[in-house]
Every structure is written in C-alpha cells, then in structure tokens.
Amino acid sequence: MSIVEIEGLTFSFSRKEIPIINNFSFSMEKGEVVGILGQSGSGKSTLLRLISGLEMPMKGTIKIAGTTVVSEGVFIHPEERGVGMVFQDYALFPHMTVKDNILFGLSRLPRKQRKSRVDEMLELVQMESFEKRYPHELSGGQQQRIALARALAPKPNILLMDEPFSNLDADLKESIREELGLILKKADMTCIMVTHDRKDVEAICDYSIVVGQSNVPNDLNGDKIHTMK
C-alpha cells in the first residue's frame, strides 16, 4: 500500500499568482526515502508544507497511510496527520532542554513509556549525554540530530525533511549524511527530503523528483521522477 498518495495537487500563494505547484501527482511506498531536488523558489518546501498541513492546496487530494488528509471538503489539522518534520533551521524550542524537546511530541504516550522512548531516541542519534543541555549549547550537527530525534520520537507515518544539511559545514555534512541514512534505515522510516544538493540524494535517497526543469519552470510534475539508485 502506498504510504503517501498525491493526486492533482495545485497550490498558489494568492489567486492572482501562477500556481507554484500545478496538478502534481505522486505516490511512494512505505520505507522509501525520496529526495526532492530543485532550485530556490521551485516549490519544494511548499510541497512539504502541503503534505504536513501547514498550507492548504487550491485543488487536489493527499492521502497519508490510506487516510485522506486533504481534499475538497476535507482538512485534517497538522497535529492529527501523523507526520514528522525536521525544519531547515531545526526549530528546537529554545526554552526547553534536549530531553524536553524530545518529550514534547510524546504527550499521547503513557507517561511510563515516555522516558524510555526519549532514551531510545537519544541512543539512536548517539546523544545520550546531552539530554540536559539547551539548544544553544549544542553545535549545528548536534542540533540537527536532536531535531531528527524529536521528529522520530512520536513514530510518524512519514518524515519530512526541509534542507536538513543547509546549516552544516562541508566536513560535517559528509559524516552527518551517512549517519542520517543509517538512522533512517534503522528506524525503517519513510521519508521525503527536500534539498538542492544532488549529493544528498545520491547518499541517502532511493530516488528523487527533480522540480523546476521543464518548460514551465515552476511546475512540479509527477512525470519527472528519476530513479537514482
């Protein structure tokens, strides 16, 4: 069964503007890691925001794990979609420790299980000794790993990552890329990753969608899926 099914998705920031995403259709299977490549302003991040429910499309349907989360007359709020997201600048809550950041998304879990889930996540990203630190006390790479742990903790159906390496330096990027690939595989996570760097896709993704390369530069189209591996 497809974990994400998108049908005829169209989005524009205002009615007067040309749609940034036009009649886009796409589906992916459980456990796949898909990269979305494209230049700035091509609609990559907007696609993630539409899947997560932070934006509402003009037209089209999105199904996640068999449930329609948006269509004509249907809108499921972001918090009810079971989608995890790692933001470009991580958005770790500055007033909470690492532990509290990860605990944040576990409110639906029985209290007793929360602590063990936090430990599990910290172990997964190899940050066990950092649970009492605040985000500003972490390096860029460490912040990224905590953001990943936080997003994975509630066991989402799908993980969305918006330019996860854009804030890291080149050396760190190499090692984190490898680590991220391993963590995703270990967690058996379905993931869509937006990036503008082809190397990211080659290292982590099963295949990619290239956007913004057709005659209509800002159109996303399901036909432009290129298998990378």
């Binding site: 997560s52 809108f75 972001p78 918090e79 997201m85 933001f87 958005a91 998304g105």
Partner: protein, 548 residues
C-alpha cells in the same frame, strides 16, 4: 463545490480562538458603531456653525500637534533606544530603565507642574530674582501654546517609542549590523540604512501610540487653551450641551484616523521584516572619551527634564500639603485605582494574546479583526464614554424583564451604574496598547516554533501554552506594564464612566488642579507616579530573571 471549499477553509481556520476574537471585536465595535450612526442623523444648527467657523482651526491645530509630536518623539525615542541598545557609556544601565520613567508622569500632571514651576511665582524665576537678581523675560520660559504642548508631549510620551524600539533592537540578530559594518559602512550609515528600516514596525508601533495619546488628549490642550478636535468635542458636549454634534465631530475624526491607520498598515504589510534565524543579543560597543560623555549628557538631560525635575518639584509641593491631604480616604483612592486597572489590564491582555495569535495567519479576516480591536485607542475618551453609556443603557433596557423577575424592581439601571462600564471603557480605549506590544512579540518569534509544535501533535491551544507563551513572555510583561500604567493615569473615561462615589487618583488630581489647588494635587500625582515606577521596577526584575 465552493461550499465544500468554504467548509474546508472554516475547518482549517475556525476554532475557539476565532470565536473569542470575534466576540472581543464586537464588544469594541458596538459603541463605535453607535457613534458612527450619528453621521446619518439630521445635523442641527450648531453643527453648521462649527463646520463653518471653527472646524478648520481645530483640524489645523490637531494636525500640527500630531505631526510635530510624532517627529520629535520618534527622534528622541529611536536615538535613545539605539544608544542604549548598541553602546556602552557611563550610567548606561541606569538610563536603560530610567528613560522609561517619564511615562510614569501623566501629561496633564506634567503640564501644570512645568507651567507653575516656570511661571512668575515658580521656583525657577523666583530663584533667579531672589538669589541672582536677574529678571527673566516672561516668554522665554513660559509653557504655552502649541510649542508648550509639543514640549510636554515629547518629553513625557517618547518612552512609548523608546521602549518598543529598544526591546526590538536588543533582541534582534546582530548579523545584519555586523554585515553592514563588514561591508564598510560607518556607524551612522549602519543606523540609517540597516537599523532604521529593520526597526520600522517597532518605531511605527510606538509612534502610533503617541499620536493617539495626542489625539485623545484633553488635559494638556485645555490647560494651555489650544483648540483641537478633542477639546472641541468636550466644548460642544459640555458648553453647548450638544451631544449629537460632539458625536458627529468624533465620527468624522474617526473616519480620518481609520483611513490613515489602514493606509499605514497596508503599506507595512507589503514589506516583511524578517529577522535572521539565530537571534544573538546585540553586543554593545564601548564609547570612549567625548563620545561617551556626549551620550551620557544626552540621556542625562532627557532624564532630568522628563522625570527628575518635575518629580522633585512635586515632592516639594507635597511636603507643603501633606498634612492636609494625606488621610484614610487616600488609601481607598489608591486601592480603587489599582483594583480597576488590574482587572482591565488582565482582560485586555487576554484578548490581545488571543487576537494577536489569530492574526499570525495573515488572512484578510484576521487583519480586519486586528484593526477592529485596536480602533479604540484612536478615539477620544469622552466619545468612547458616550458610546459605552448608550450601549449599557440599551443593555439594561433589554435585561429589564430579567431584573424584575429576580426582584430588582421595574427597569432599574444595574449595568450602567456599575464599575463594569468603566472597565469596558478602558478595555476599548487601551486594547491597542496591549495588542501592539504582543503583536511585536509574535512577529519577533515568527511561526517556526508553533509549526514545529503542531507537527509534534499539539493543537493550537496547547501549542500556545507550551511554546508561544514562554517565548512571548517579555512582550507580555511590557504590554502589561504599559497598559496598567496607562489606565492608572487615564482621566476622561474615569471622570465620565465611574460609578457614583468612585474616585481614582487621576480624577482626584484633576479635581484639585482644576480648582487651582496645584500644591494639593501633588500627593495624588505622586501616587500615580509611584504606581508607575513600581511597575517599571517589577518589569526590570522579571526581565533580569528571564535573561538568567
């Protein structure tokens, strides 16, 4: 199909937050709509007289006052905010909070203090005559006319601009400023090219508050004999006993204000003022030698004129009349003032937070709501008073059957004789004060943390309590202080809407000053100032703890 899309949109946007915002907007709009309805009534003879012979002069004076005060307060507020935020110089830490203190002195107290102090029998001229045998020309020091009013408004209202701009500058990322410096720009160019445009929302927010203070003023302008639209409204109401024409004047003033307000907001909405993602506090640059002394003198002179000199003068007068005025009834006055201000401030902040949170969606509906709830600040107090009174009398009429069924008699005036009316008046008038501070806080935080929280499974309300609220705490505290102090100082609404036998410190001060008992007015004036100073100290303490 359209119905389906609408249903989906409602599902996405509509929640309890919207309902509360809508309710708040209706409460604020009702009295205002009542005033607007006067436009459609048949005008009387007085109105033709006012329009033909007086209106031009009123409008001209109002515009001159607003423009001059706006320019001077912006200049003073922004330059002081930049000095304090970006530089280190002698006593800078003291001035950082000391420059907020002029706001503690209401303008109607400041004007009688300065005028009496600088007058022929005041301390300045008396000292020059008696100790230096020097006779000063009367016009040199007299506080009178438009220049006198602008002097008072500027000195005592600039902290609005200073506080909001300083908070904005201190907490924003330094990367823009550092970048500008690295690109070879000198400090002055950095200020004009980077700091000013970036701080525009804060500067505009503060200046708009100052302008509405000036537009709603009665104390200073009436004391100095300047005819503005607000004094005209008072005169039409109290001297001509023509409420209809007074409301008509107010309605047209509101049309002008609303037009300017919408235009400014529209222009501001087109440009976004994003801050850089990683916010580091601004590291102050040490000013050495003459530059340090100049900065110290600039802040020192403003502090002396805007706070210390009038404050000391009031203390001197208070010593003369203390035994006569200070008794048990003064404690009641103090308690009543704090009580009514506290309830009103809390109500204002709760609605401000709700509406500002709704407005983060940047939809046209939220834009309309934000404009509705902040309209009250632009409306002179007496006009809000008459609007509120009319609504409450209608409410009492409407509730009369319920009153009689619970044994309160036939058609009594319950609500319109209660303190609720004054609280609603304050609520309408000062909603903008709280809202603006919180809106700036939300703008600063952005939406990324809220979105992250939603993605982690928390709804709008839980996200607000766990994420937004701790992050906007600073803005909430400044909003609380500014609103609380404003209400403690407020005069016209308290005079007109207070229940029988209910006095506040401001009404008592006005009563004394109006009776030419300037010295007697000093004690209640000092108490108002004390409340304000206490708020500033608490603000400082909480701020420090927050930083730690």
């Amino acid at each position: 199909m359209k119905a389906e899309l609408l249903k989906r949109k409602v599902k996405k946007e509509f929640n309890g937050w919207w309902t509360i915002s809508l309710f708040g907007a209706v409460v604020i709009l009702l009295p205002i709509l009542f005033i607007f309805s006067s436009i459609f009534q048949e005008p009387n003879e007085n109105w033709f007289h006012i329009r033909q012979y007086l209106l031009g002069n009123y409008v001209a004076n109002t515009i001159i006052l607003v423009v001059l005060t706006g320019v001077f307060t912006s200049f003073l507020g922004v330059t002081l905010a930049w000095l304090i935020a970006a530089y280190d110089f002698p006593l800078k830490r003291f001035f950082r909070w000391g420059l907020m203190l002029p706001l503690a002195i209401p303008t109607f107290i400041a004007v009688y203090t300065y005028r009496t102090m600088l007058g022929y029998t005041g301390v300045v001229q008396t000292t020059l005559r008696n100790h230096f045998d020097y006779q000063l020309k009367a016009e040199w020091l007299t506080i009178s006319g438009i220049s006198g009013a602008v002097f008072i408004f500027t000195l005592f209202l600039f902290p609005y601009v200073y506080m909001i701009t300083r908070a904005f500058l201190e907490s924003q990322s330094t990367s823009y400023i550092e970048n500008a410096r690295l690109l070879g720009r000198k400090p002055l160019a950095v200020f004009y090219k980077v700091v000013l445009p970036l701080s525009r929302p804060a500067i505009v927010g503060g200046t708009v508050l100052v302008i509405y203070e000036v537009l709603g003023d009665y104390g200073v302008t009436s004391y100095l004999g300047i005819h503005t639209i607000s004094t005209a409204i008072f005169q039409t109401w109290f001297r001509m006993y023509d409420v209809n024409s007074a409301m008509r004047l107010a309605a047209w003033l509101m049309v002008i204000i609303a037009g300017v307000f919408f235009l400014e907001k529209l222009l501001r909405q087109r440009r976004r003022y994003h801050l850089s993602n990683k916010s580091r506090p601004l590291v102050p640059v040490k000013l050495r030698g003459m530059a340090g002394i100049a900065a110290f003198l600039y802040c020192g002179i403003v502090f002396l004129l805007g706070f210390l000199i009038p404050f000391v003068q009031l203390i001197a007068w208070a010593k003369l009349t203390f035994h006569k005025v200070w008794d048990a009834s003064f404690f009641t006055l103090f308690y009543q003032t704090v009580y009514v201000a506290l309830i009103s401030t809390l109500l204002i902040l709760i609605l401000s937070v709700v509406v500002a949170n709704v407005c983060r969606s940047h939809s046209s509906f939220s834009f309309m709501i934000s404009k509705c709830v902040t309209l009250g600040y632009s409306i002179p107090g007496p006009i809000i008073a008459i609007g509120v009174l009319a609504v409450f009398i209608s409410l009492d009429k409407w509730l009369a059957p319920i009153y009689s069924s619970v044994g309160l008699g036939e058609a009594p005036l319950i609500l319109s004789l209660s303190l609720v009316m004054l609280i609603v008046g304050y609520f309408i008038r000062f909603m903008a004060t709280g809202f603006n501070a919180i809106e700036v806080g939300f703008e600063k935080v952005g939406t990324k943390y809220t979105e992250a929280s939603r993605m982690l499974g928390l709804g709008v309300t839980k996200t607000f309590l766990k994420v937004d609220l701790p992050l906007i705490k600073g803005s909430l505290i400044s909003g609380f202080i500014v609103t609380f102090v404003e209400i403690c100082k407020e005069l016209p609404l308290a005079l007109l809407l207070r229940p029988f036998n209910f006095e506040t410190l401001a009404t008592k001060t006005y009563q004394y000053a109006n009776d030419e008992q300037i010295h007697e007015a000093s004690i209640s004036s000092l108490l108002i100032i004390a409340i304000s100073i206490l708020s500033v100290i608490i603000f400082q303490m909480i701020g420090k703890r927050g930083k730690q």
